[in-house]
Subunit: 202 residues, 4 copies
């Protein structure tokens, strides 16, 4: 069920920083612009790598990674049909070239994919441990898993997995607040903190 769903190939130029409201999505759920680019940075992408984007949501990570992987391949895995519709809209809008939409449940559907150099986990549908186990098996040494946790439970479970599996782990917490540009007064609005775990296989 890996579909070669691609954009139109017209490159709008190498750039970074897509505003959140440019994506078709469920508003509250999108990885915020600032967290998205820090996540991409932590992935340490090189131009010809293979990236699994598990729990792709609206596809924003895959889409913004597309320019950073001109000769690579991105697999956006999403089990929720409504989200997949958003992803399709967004892939078309942003003319991605290397993003493949994968319909199915992780970790089962990961069997069909080529081995990754990088794995991003934005959502696990309750199968975090199993997904990490498979990702670990398929990842080469020096491969990298990045995971965004918004609950203490996910932070704790992922941290425990990586400790057991002997990964070198860095946890970065990001607290972002933004003023809205269109109001008379510039009031800072906070976004919920995100824990970005970046784990390197030894």
């Amino acid at each position: 069920l890996v579909k070669q769903f691609e954009g139109e190939g017209k490159d709008s130029g190498s750039w970074l920083g897509i505003p959140d409201d440019e994506f078709a999505t469920v508003k509250k759920l999108i990885t915020k612009e600032e967290v998205r680019v820090v996540t991409l940075a932590k992935l340490r992408l090189r131009q010809d790598m293979i990236l699994w984007d598990i729990g792709a949501g609206s596809g924003s990570i895959s889409i913004e990674a597309d320019h950073l992987l001109p000769n690579g391949k991105i697999f956006a895995v999403e089990r929720n049909p409504e989200c997949r519709d958003f992803i399709k809209q967004n892939l078309q809008k942003f003319h991605t070239r290397n993003v493949n939409l994968v319909e199915g449940d992780a970790p089962a559907c990961l069997d069909d994919l080529p081995d990754p150099d990088r794995v991003f986990i934005g959502g696990s549908g309750g199968h975090l441990w199993d997904i990490l186990t498979i990702a670990d098996k398929r990842l080469p040494a020096d491969g990298r898993i990045v995971l965004n946790a918004i609950t203490l439970d996910t932070l704790t479970a992922a941290n425990e997995f990586f400790a057991n599996a002997g990964y070198e782990v860095e946890v970065t917490t990001i607290n972002v607040a933004r003023t809205r540009p269109l109001t008379a007064y510039k009031m800072f609005e906070a976004y919920n903190p995100v824990y970005i775990l970046a784990a390197v296989k030894q």
Copy 2:
């Protein structure tokens, strides 16, 4: 005094997220990895733009922007000779293709440069208002100035300038804390908050 100082042209591949300690620099002064990529995102770079990087410090913003501007030009302005030496080392190390080192004091030295599409101000040497005035004059409509403030004074002054000049301004505050991967216990260490002002000329 604009020097065509360039790297060797060997591209290591399109990527993002250079660890802070990869740069030759005065340790404490570098824009931290996380803030750097958010800054780049706020610049909304397109591939053929001209970017002024004023107060370039170690050149980290220019260097990481290089991959995002494959057909553009970057001018890294720095008045401090010690910092310029760091920039030279870093440009060579990272094989940048489009970064030009500009020796001199802003705003005076900006006269020699082509008009910018984007301006980043990482340091102003006490001439913030004058630099903003010149940047504003040279910038086209929809052009964008991004400024990183670490003091309340700079935040306030820049905000006042942009209000007077009729820019649309968004202020983003970023609080980052990271665990160090090499200690037995993962203790969170905070970096000082940075205020990223992104201002669009109307």
Copy 3:
């Protein structure tokens, strides 16, 4: 119009840390528990002081200050009738002994009050500069004004006032996120950042 509105005098014991939902209030507007106690700390209250609480809202600052000022006097100033109703309910519920509700617009209504040792400004109804001017006139040397800003505009204006008036100023920003105890997963929810300015008259 200073009303000797007091609680029933039955002291529930000296304590600190009233949960937000214990107050009758407009939910979104209350100073959050954590910010409230830091604000009280910055006021450096001593037991026999006079405190003006301007823009008292639901009265939460005055109420929690009551135990810290057993021999002092607190004047909770609020111009909004709906808020004053909340304050009345809260004063009764918490059995305050030294809180007086002041109905009226600041700064005009401040004329009727005794000179303060401490001034807290939680809201200014658009009259920030005038309120600060009057507070400054009435405050003794070493007196202290604490102000909570949630907009860049208030932060900037207050900072400018204190600089002009020669106060020693400390600005503290607080970013708080809390897990909700009643959900299966502990998700961190961020509260908007608050800037607490603590200014001491020289």
Copy 4:
């Protein structure tokens, strides 16, 4: 080895908010003013309670709690002799009335103390689980344990303990940055984030 070490009994008045540099201490290790008062708030102290302050450090929590527990008792437990010297100096300086210094290792030395209503754990000397086990045994229903974690490891371990023991837990993260009042420019300096766990026995 519970010593009735007390101050001189001269009450300087009920107040809150002792600046960090008022305490004799190892500078870096003190619980920062803002975190200290939020910690006190989370303890929900009532005036006649018994508080264990385990890993008291410089005694700052015990000292600031003293005014909130006029008819209570505080036991400041500290195994490090150097820290105990700081505590002694600080107890004298602040004229505490209800703080007892306990010399020894927790949890062993806790046997000599009366049952607590509240337990604060600022340090555990590597015996976190054992200390929590004893604290849990001695605490009545509705009793409250508050713990400050600065490492992911302590956060995780404490959270696991409380989950197993059926406590209702709230985790609050506090990110504080302060400007220094004495410099020409107001630069924000961040303090490391602290996780405050407040756990209520069911």
